[in-house]
């Protein structure tokens, strides 16, 4: 099975014009001629109507014998091409989604469900489709989870490749933040008891299918506004063209319907009208290829507008785990000694912190790994009560732990120090407190720099502090700088104390931080930002993140998160990578920019079209107007034909841009606008002059007009 494609931000043009997508799209372009589907796109619907009307007139003229039939026929042909090209653009955009939906559908096999009644493990086999919300089912190794649900008992490894494309199994367990399971995924080991949370037809995979197919695509707010603008422009050009026959009659001439239609269709914004829905679909598709599912197009658009980004420290800004970065001994102890003791205490410690101490000791002081069995050591594990761990070996004991716990331990003459009691007894109370103060001072210093201190003692004597530090992810500082240039403020959310938080915030380069954050604090922060008129994006996975996810304008839920979080967010990140929020924002911006660029281009195009058609139109009775024929087009008929051919071909020419999107650069709005205005505004004025002239040369050479 070929699952959802892995992240691939920019699709090469060649992939877009893949015949497997283009060929069915050509067929779809014809079926989309159905007026019931065309009416959703007002501009192209108008073109279809005039194409149909002129066709009727043409047939009538054909029967009664009219003039210029060959010319009329060509114009009509290109009118239909204009409509078909628009449909083709949409069909190609939908094509990719369709292929993905097919793959997804295969995973939604008809499965049997083991419906439980009560708390016992007795079940009866029912069809997966008959499950209702609230039903309890048992899923055992090898079973496919029948529908979306929440694990209420048990723990199991689950293969979620069907939705994430990641074949490594993930753990799903009751309680905590990893309790959501998705219908269509498969349990590999153990068993779980699941409460069904979605009925058939509205499961996660169902929604995904609809989303990628674009079946439930609703127009986004910006799209609606843009459609109004385009409809308005169309009406303006209706006035501009329907009044012309009367003006011509006054001047003693007449204008044929087909010429008026040609002027009208070239003037109305067909370029953007044709590509508008393709741009929207492609935007959603870009997210999907990025393994992010947006529940609505509105969310994608909102992503482009985001002003404030809330990012969790752990996993987003810093690597998930703290790492040892320095050994800081007390006076009279060498770093080497401290490192040796710390390494010994951490040998059997499998936590990432413990391993990082061993690694640091080796890298910095060349202390080799030792074998616990050889030393005859016993491991004293960490407990919540002692808040320390260590090793007892060869009559010596080494401990490491939280500073206050360790101070307590050495001060109170801990019971494990019996073997080396002589050392402990030799300590004077005054000396102890002096040592304690020194340790405390080092610990404070470490805290201030954003680290976490870990005290180490051998045989009841404090040797010093291991400095653990949050490691800020490589390159994240540059990302934040880039966000700042985009106009986005980043706020780091952390449970750390303010001192540590401030240090990490400064190191990572975030604009602000919220320390010792509770879920309520998070929610309040979002509300405060929104009250200032800002749009807020955040990501989260826990159930306690759900209110904040729902409140945020863009809430990206991690796929590994709880069902509550996934319901609350308006996007789901299948890879559960919180850093992706930044790319999501970029994709949103790209979507808006592409629309703006093509709208500007489309409107700017009209200048050249006027210069092509107006002189051609009035030449018969006002020959002076030929000075407006700046392109020096060979004849009135070829001028009109060239303009309408250009108008149709530019749609095809711009499909790749519509699908790929205009590249976003974080260079500040002013610079971005200047660049885009130059390309799409000025370019939009100049290109059609060249294009129409070139087509005119071809048309004349082929004697088409």
């Amino acid at each position: 099975m070929e699952p959802v494609h892995k992240p691939n931000k920019r699709m090469p043009v060649s992939a877009m014009l893949d015949p497997r997508i283009v060929v069915p799209a050509i067929g779809a372009a014809f079926t989309k001629l159905d007026p019931r589907s065309m009416i959703k796109n007002p501009v192209m619907f108008v073109v279809e109507i005039v194409a149909a009307l002129t066709t009727v007139i043409f047939v009538r003229d054909l029967l009664t014998g009219g003039e210029n039939l060959a010319f009329t026929f060509q114009i009509i042909l290109w009118l239909w091409f204009t409509v078909l090209f628009a449909n083709l653009a949409e069909a190609v955009a939908e094509g990719r989604g369709k292929a993905q939906a097919e793959t997804l559908r295969k995973t939604r096999t008809e499965s049997q469900a083991k419906l439980l009644s009560g708390a016992s493990r007795d079940f009866k086999l029912v069809s997966g489709t008959s499950l209702k919300v609230g039903d309890l089912v048992l899923v055992e190794a090898g079973d496919t989870i029948p529908s979306d649900g929440e694990v209420i008992e048990g723990v199991a490894s689950v293969n979620e490749a069907a939705i994430t494309g990641e074949s490594a199994p993930v753990i799903r367990e009751s309680g905590g933040d990893r309790s959501a399971v998705t219908g269509g995924t498969q349990v590999l080991s153990d068993w779980i008891r699941v409460r069904i949370t979605a009925a058939q037809g509205s499961t996660f995979i169902d929604r995904m299918i609809k989303l990628v197919e674009g079946a439930e695509r609703q127009k986004t707010p910006n799209e609606i506004a843009l459609n109004i603008l385009l409809a308005g422009l169309t009406i303006i050009f209706v006035f501009a063209t329907v009044t012309i026959p009367s003006y011509a009659a006054y001047a003693g001439g007449s204008i044929s319907v087909i010429v008026l239609v040609a002027l009208f269709v070239t003037l109305i914004p067909t370029t953007i009208g044709a590509l508008l829905s393709a741009i929207g679909i492609a935007g959603m598709d870009r997210l999907v290829r990025f393994n992010v599912l947006a529940m609505s197009g509105r969310a994608v658009e909102a992503a482009g507008d985001v002003d404030t980004l809330l990012l969790d420290k752990t996993g987003t800004i810093t690597l998930g785990n703290r790492q040892a970065t320095a050994f800081r001994p007390v006076r009279g102890v060498t770093e080497q000694e401290l490192a040796d003791a710390a390494q010994l205490a951490s040998l059997a410690d499998e936590t990432p912190e413990g391993r990082s101490i061993v690694v640091l000791a080796k890298e910095k002081y060349g202390i080799r790994g030792r074998d616990m069995a050889e030393l005859g050591a016993t491991f004293i594990p960490f407990t919540a009560q002692t808040r320390m761990s260590g090793v007892d070996a060869g009559g010596s004991s080494v401990r490491k732990g939280a500073v206050d716990a360790m101070l307590n331990y050495v001060g109170g003459g801990a019971p494990t120090a019996v073997a080396s009691g002589n050392v402990a007894r030799a300590m004077q109370p005054a000396a102890l407190s002096e040592l304690g103060r020194e340790i405390q001072a080092i610990a404070d210093d470490v805290s201030k720099s954003g680290g976490t201190p870990l005290a180490v003692a051998r045989d009841g004597k404090l040797l010093g502090i291991v400095q653990l530090k949050d490691i800020v992810k490589g390159g994240i500082r540059e990302r934040f700088a880039e966000l700042r240039r985009m106009g986005i403020r980043t706020i780091m959310i952390t449970g750390d104390n303010p001192m540590t938080a401030a240090a990490i915030a400064a190191e990572a380069g975030v604009d602000d931080f919220l320390a010792q954050a509770t879920p309520e604090d998070k929610l309040k922060l979002i509300r405060d930002e929104q009250a200032k008129g800002k749009l807020v994006a955040m990501c989260g996975d826990g159930t306690n993140d759900a209110p904040a996810l729902a409140q945020a304008d863009v809430g990206v839920a991690m796929n590994t998160g709880t069902q509550a979080a996934r319901e609350a967010g308006n996007m789901v990140d299948l890879d559960s990578n919180p850093t992706k929020l930044i790319e999501v924002v970029e994709i949103g911006k790209q979507l808006l920019m592409t629309r703006g660029a093509l709208t500007t281009f489309s409107i700017a195009n009209d200048v050249a079209k006027y210069f092509a058609i107006i002189p051609a139109m009035f030449l018969a009775f006002y020959p002076q107007l030929s000075v407006l024929n700046v392109m020096n087009l060979s004849s009135p008929q070829s001028a009109i034909l060239s303009a309408i051919i250009f108008n149709a071909l530019i749609i095809i020419g711009l499909i790749p841009l519509a699908l790929k999107g205009v590249a976003y650069r974080a260079v500040g709005a002013g610079a971005l606008l200047r660049r885009n205005l130059l390309i799409y505004g000025l370019g939009g004025i100049v290109i059609p002059f060249i294009g129409i002239k070139a087509i005119d040369l071809v048309v004349t050479a082929l004697h088409l007009a």
Partner: protein, 567 residues
């Protein structure tokens, strides 16, 4: 073209710009209800007006209430003018014994004055009594101007406010605008005009005996008082038929210059009011820059075309520029400048006959009006018209920075775009639609004075002037016919109110929105890029709409003229 000519144009622009800031500061205080240096005198009168009319000045209105109040106010204004014109024969202050004005002409004139158009299908001194001029027309000159200004202020408040349901109180705004802004300036201005030699009397027309011994009636009247508000309020309805070309309505070169200034000052100052109210004066200057660029370009073309003259005249030995239809006292520069100003703003007063301009020179006034009179524009109307274009420009190009377009902290969304589009649709509908009827309907065609493209331009100009509420005429067309009285009235009405209601809807919708603080991601609307963008959108959108009509009118006429064909 001469250096002194360009200097005059430069001096004009410089003075307008210099007046913008102080006047903007004063007007902002007035509309914020703050104390001004005139408060000791005017505040009791203001309070008295509220007390008599039962207006609670503290109570603000929703945009809809505001608009309805404004519309009711105009129904009243219409009834007053219409009845005065129909009944003037039996009312006092009628020394010239003018008879009742015909029904269709009264209707047209009443609409014309309540819409701040002042299109005149009548000759002032030969049709109207002093009472009609003073009570009927002058009061609307004040109130239609005040209405325009307060509507612009309401829209500005929409941009400036955040999360509010109200946009101000119409009655309070109109009262304050009239009392604190229009009246004081007019009093000073009228006295200045009298000093320059303008009549101000309620006496009868003067009988004079000419050198040949013939009897001549010289029309006089309360001219100065009416001319002051005619210019300041961009009304443009002349006391005399010849308007500002008449020696009594424009006695000196200085009065001509100051009258031109008075057309622009309030409109220009409103850009500063906008900047102040939205909290950044540079926003206002940017808008003024857009207007200024379009204005200077228009003046340049018009002055060049007039100074160039025509090849036909040159062939007859008449060298130099085109002086046909121009007052020799003012000459080419002052006439071209006046023509561009009066059509850029919706004033419509004229000191030369636009009909006699070269085709190209006459096209500039036409384009100024077709763009919606947003180059400074009618007092207030220019500002809200410009803001509608800004909304569209921001929406089209603003998306290109990758955000929902914002302007001065307000998101431009579907509702604003819809309303702006509705308002802008009015221009092609009325101008192109009625022109299409006017050039083929036999009864209308009979009104044309010239054939060919020139006749076409006359009709196009009339409907353009009416729809844009300008009121200047491309003389030549006989406007006082049943057809033109009614069609022009409809163009004026739709052109005014179908623009106002959507603009007010935008005000209401914007006021209710949150205000977004600017960031690196918001594109700056104070720089040259923004100015260029708005100018481009105005020219492309406006130009594209009217290009076919212009091609068949002035453009083809100019081309034919160059080839020696006149119409």
């Amino acid at each position: 073209m001469t250096v002194i000519g360009w200097f005059q144009i430069f001096l004009y622009c410089a003075i307008v710009v210099a007046l913008t800031k102080p006047l903007g500061w004063y007007m902002t205080r007035v509309f914020n209800g703050e104390r001004t240096f005139l408060s000791p005198v005017l505040r009791p009168i203001e309070a008295g007006i509220y007390w008599i009319s039962g207006v609670d000045e503290k109570r603000e209105q929703h945009w809809l209430t505001y608009t309805v109040a404004m519309l009711l106010f105009h129904v009243g204004g219409f009834l007053i003018i219409y009845s005065l014109m129909r009944l003037q024969a039996v009312l006092p202050f009628n020394p010239a014994g003018q008879s009742a004005v015909a029904e269709d002409l009264s209707f047209n004139t009443a609409i014309s004055f309540i819409t701040n158009t002042n299109w005149q299908n009548y000759g002032g001194e030969s049709t109207l009594s002093y009472l009609t001029q003073m009570v009927g027309l002058t009061h609307q000159n004040f109130l239609s101007a005040a209405t325009g200004i307060v509507l612009a202020v309401a829209l500005i408040r929409g941009f400036a406010r955040a999360s509010m349901r109200t946009v101000g109180n119409f009655w309070v705004d109109v009262t304050r605008c009239t009392l604190y802004i229009l009246l004081p300036i007019c009093v000073v201005f009228a006295l200045f005009l009298v000093w320059q030699g303008m009549p101000q009397t309620l006496g009868a027309y003067v009988e004079a005996t000419t050198l040949e011994g013939a009897k001549q009636t010289i029309a006089v009247g309360p001219v100065a008082s009416q001319v002051a508000i005619k210019m300041l309020g961009t009304n443009g309805g002349g006391f005399f038929n010849a308007n500002a070309a008449h020696p009594f309505e424009n006695p000196t070169a200085l009065s001509n210059f100051v009258q031109m200034l008075s057309i622009f000052v309030l409109g220009a100052a409103l850009t500063n009011v906008f900047g102040r109210m939205v909290g950044n004066q540079r926003q206002g200057w940017a808008i003024l820059a857009v207007m200024g660029l379009l204005f200077v370009a228009g003046v340049g073309v018009c002055y060049w075309a007039e100074a160039q003259g025509t090849s036909t005249m040159h062939a007859l030995g008449l060298t130099g520029g085109n002086m046909e239809g121009k007052e020799v006292r003012f000459g080419i520069v002052a006439s071209s400048l006046f023509a561009v100003i009066t059509t850029a703003a919706s004033c419509g007063a004229v000191n030369a006959m636009h009909d006699s301009f070269t085709a190209l020179g006459g096209m500039i006034p036409l384009i100024n009006m077709q763009l919606g009179e947003i180059i400074v524009g009618g007092v207030g109307a220019g500002m809200y018209g410009m803001l509608l274009f800004v909304i569209l420009a921001i929406f089209v190009a603003g998306l290109m920075v990758g955000r929902t377009p914002e302007y001065v902290g307000k998101k431009i969304e579907a509702r604003e775009v819809k309303m702006a589009m509705l308002a802008i649709l009015v221009l092609p509908l009325m101008i192109l639609g009625w022109t299409a009827v006017g050039v083929v309907y036999p009864a209308a065609v009979a009104s044309m004075a010239n054939a060919g493209p020139h006749g076409f331009t006359e009709v196009l100009y009339a409907f353009t002037s009416g729809t844009a509420n300008n009121g200047s005429a491309f003389a030549g067309l006989t406007g006082n016919t049943f057809f033109y009285n009614l069609t022009l009235a409809s163009a004026m009405f739709v052109g005014r109110f179908f623009m106002i209601v959507p603009a007010m809807a935008i005000a209401g919708s914007l006021a209710a929105k949150k205000s977004i603080p600017p960031s690196m991601g918001t594109f700056p609307t104070t720089g040259g890029l923004f100015v260029g963008l708005v100018v481009g959108v105005i020219l492309i959108m406006g130009g594209l709409t009217f290009f076919p009509a212009l091609a068949l009118g002035p453009i083809v006429e100019q081309l034919a003229m160059n080839a020696g064909n006149l119409f």
